[in-house]
Amino acid sequence: MQEATFYYLAAASVASAFFAVTRRNPVHSMLWVLALFLHVAGIFLILGAEFLAAVQVIVYAGAILIFYLFVLMLLDLPGEEARPRFGVHWPFAVVAGLSLGALAWLAQMEPLVIEKAAVAGGGAAADTPELGSLENLGTQLFGPFALPFEMASLLLLAAIIGAVVLAKKRAPAS
């Protein structure tokens, strides 16, 4: 049952990614990307990352994608559907995508043998929380990952200020 669900989600996410990059109408592309994000969230659930699946739906599908849609509608691109879908160099892009995909595909052909690393923070406790639980992730974020976590907040602050400065109307030149 779980396997069947996984393979359905995998096939559907590949199909929706393909449609997302090939549709002529940008809004259709966005909707296919939404389908991709939701299917990937389903795969996260199967892989035991419950919190990350929720973040994927709320932040990616809920916030980032809506932001893209807002800008798309703000720009109001007339005649976008009449323009050529791809640049004239698109066969090269196909070759590049295929060769990168094939390279990664070949790299994963051999069965992986990975030693399970000792979980930082000690997994020896009798009541170890579940892998993808909020408790587990929060302990990591505020423990060994505290510095990167704060840096991420700084990065987001810089991005907010940068976006406001970039999109602001310029004062008339003096």
Partner: protein
């Protein structure tokens, strides 16, 4: 038909290849950004897969950081798109051939 780490990595590779094709081939700047999001999602998928395989939450923490960076990238990128659009309507990268106008 069991889920193995190899399957997850293969799926991630496929998604990354599709996103890369989209980024290189599309000429609409917003759709290029969307292709970048597809690639970031592929990377997240492999990070979560490794986390699941090794039963180590650190992969998921890294995926969270990737999501934060994706949000920052979307904000800056779309701010740039709006600024460009003010100077030159349209979202085709083929029209943007000058650094200053």
């Amino acid at each position: 038909m069991t889920i193995s780490m190899n399957t997850i990595l293969g799926l991630s590779a496929l998604l990354f290849g599709i996103g890369m094709f989209g980024f290189l081939a599309r000429r609409n700047i917003i759709l290029m950004f969307i292709s970048v999001e597809v690639m970031l999602n592929a990377v997240n998928l492999s990070l979560v897969g490794f986390s699941w395989h090794m039963e180590d939450p650190r992969g998921q923490v890294l995926a969270l950081f990737v999501i934060a960076v994706a949000a920052a990238e979307a904000g800056i990128g779309l701010g740039l798109v709006i600024a460009l659009n003010r100077n030159k309507p349209g979202a085709g990268v083929g029209d943007l051939t000058e650094l200053k106008w």
